[in-house]
């Protein structure tokens, strides 16, 4: 078992004919993901190393049975692409694109909430279920199958933490990057709920950062609904207020969204918070045994 993506994933990539889109689609396929289709308007009928390209998601889904979408198009086309994938009935949409206007994200989020499609991202590295499927840009070679579920707002920091865990011998059920934007399609809570229900996952690692209150909300949810151990890391203890730290969502506004407040909220619900990525791995060893 794993969450979100696995061997049943049938992936259709929006923007497959772009340079990055092609590179990562093929990368995902090499890993074993079933990459069944691509969508690029006007390039229908072509193929990318054997992956058929369609003009619309509807056609791609009808012809290939795609159930998962990855969105790789530039920001001004990304919201439309997410909506198209949802309209075509895709179950899971992973949006890698960074820089989508915030109001577009709001509309997309509030629209998708009414339907069955789940969005992960945007501005995220994707989802990796080691040994099963990789949808996105997570460098899979650093991770192997195991019992630690990771959910994170950032990309490279996730690799850092994953790597520290790997060095202690832990593998992962799934690694989910929910993205660094203010309005992510899936929240910590959404993914933690999946890990809680996933029999393979025995420890959940939450990697948060400054800005918003999604870590605080997650803390409350964990306190009420999660039986599995959770370890957390929060980045940005030393971030100055009022400045966006790279991620659009990473900003301390006034006294809100500080790393300290998040760590406090998590610890109050029994979540152990490591102050460095290394410390997270140390705690994992304590919880699960070396």
């Amino acid at each position: 078992m794993a969450v979100l993506v696995d061997s049943d994933t049938r992936l259709c990539v929006s923007g497959i004919t772009g340079r990055e889109g092609t590179f990562h689609s093929l990368n995902n396929r090499s890993y074993g993901t079933q990459v069944v289709a691509g969508v690029t308007p006007g390039k229908g009928g072509q193929d990318v190393e054997g992956i058929p390209v369609f003009n619309t998601f509807h056609e791609a889904v009808a012809e290939t049975g795609a159930n998962t979408a990855m969105v790789f198009v530039p920001p001004r086309f990304a919201a439309d692409s997410v909506l198209e994938a949802a309209d075509a009935g895709v179950d899971l949409i992973v949006a890698i694109t960074e820089g989508i206007p915030a109001h577009d994200e709001l509309r997309v989020f509030n629209h998708l909430e009414r339907g069955p499609s789940r969005l992960v991202g945007p501005n995220c590295p994707g989802v990796l279920s080691p040994g099963k499927a990789n949808v996105g840009i997570i460098p899979a070679s650093f991770f192997r199958e195991g019992n630690v579920g990771v959910v994170s707002r950032s990309g490279t920091l996730t690799y850092q933490i994953g790597n520290e865990l790997a060095q202690r011998g832990f593998g992962n059920s799934s690694i989910v990057g929910i993205g660094g934007d203010p309005v992510p399609g899936s929240s910590f809570i959404d993914i933690i709920a999946l890990f809680e229900a996933d029999p393979e996952t025995e420890l959940i690692v939450l990697s948060g950062e400054i800005g918003g209150d999604s870590e605080e909300q997650a803390a409350e949810y964990i306190g009420r609904h999660v039986s599995k151990p959770v370890v957390a890391y929060i980045a940005g203890f030393t971030a100055p207020p009022g400045r966006t730290m790279g991620h659009a969502g990473a900003i301390v506004s006034g006294s809100k969204g500080t790393a300290q407040a998040k760590a406090d909220a998590l610890e109050a619900e029994g979540v152990r918070v490591g102050r460095t990525p290394t410390a997270v791995a140390d705690i994992a060893v304590e919880v699960l045994g070396g």
Binding site: I100, H103, N110, H111, A235, T238
Partner: protein, 379 residues
Amino acid sequence: MDLLEYQGKQLFAKHGVPVSPGRPVTTVQEAVSAADELGYPVVVKAQVLIGGRGKAGGIKLAGDREAVEQHAGAILGMEIRGLRVRELWIEEASDIEDEYYAAFVFDRSAKKPMAMFSRMGGMDVEAITAEDPEAMRMLHVDPLLGFQDFHGRRLAFEAGIPEDVIRPVGEMLGKLYEVFVSEDATLVEVNPVVVKTDRSVNALDAKVTIDGNALYRHPQTAEMRNISDESPQERLAKERGLTYVPLDGNIGILGNGAGLVMSTLDVVAQAGGKPANFLDAAGGSKAEAITSAVEVILSNERVSALLLNIFGGITRCDEVAQGLIAAFRQVEPTVPFVVRLDGTNGPEGRALLAEAELPNLHIEETMLGAAEKVVELAG
């Protein structure tokens, strides 16, 4: 992207939000002719991106030409909480009976726009809520449905403002929401909304933040950019497409990915050091990005050591190493470098660096080790 008061008011006017006539000026002479055109009295207002202008003496009523000359002269060039005043807004004066507060913000938690309105305006919003939490009325707007008339009525009635201004205030809120959405703002704040002696309602201030990601669809707004208060590093980083945030320490920080860089700042601080900046060379960093980033960081003279922390995912460590080697050739740095290169093509990257024998460059295996080393070297 934050707009100056008068820039925000230009957007307000475009959407029918009532504002007072005025002129932006940059010299005393322009201020005087603007005031002559508008008619006296006028208000001379410092245009800086910071609150508390009034208390700092940056807003003055001028009843005649001499007063305009005097105030404009005093305010231009004044420093308000660290920001130099370079522009003024000369505005028709208003006879004010009442001051309210209105705003639209993103509520990240609810994932919806939030409308805020209070019958107490003209003071700091945190002071309003502190003085009387009930006085700040708030509600969420479904972004697919939009701001409805009932939202405006509800805020106005619940705030307890007089009967005769319920309708104009409700209408203004509707138009401010229009500004918020159609101008891709992430913040629209009016403090104060004023009721004038003729009982008309007017937006007397404007604090508007536009989503930088949406500027491509607002070319006119994009031209409003006020870059005068950026540091040279920030300006350079923006030109190179890098994300740079100045901090007040002496250790230059460079990494790939916002989360990892934030984490690096924290770990350096834990090791007892003081970072000079946040700089994300972004996922997929190519050689040129690394070279540019090093240039940007070293253009800050306070930097006495530099930490490069890379965990390669899309980013390939060999490319990073090449970029660093090129940077050394171009910049010929005089400060020590600590490098931690891990992830995709890590061994190849480290081998390239070893071969290049760059002066005063220290390779560390772990993030923690690298942080400790750079703190030691920075002194």
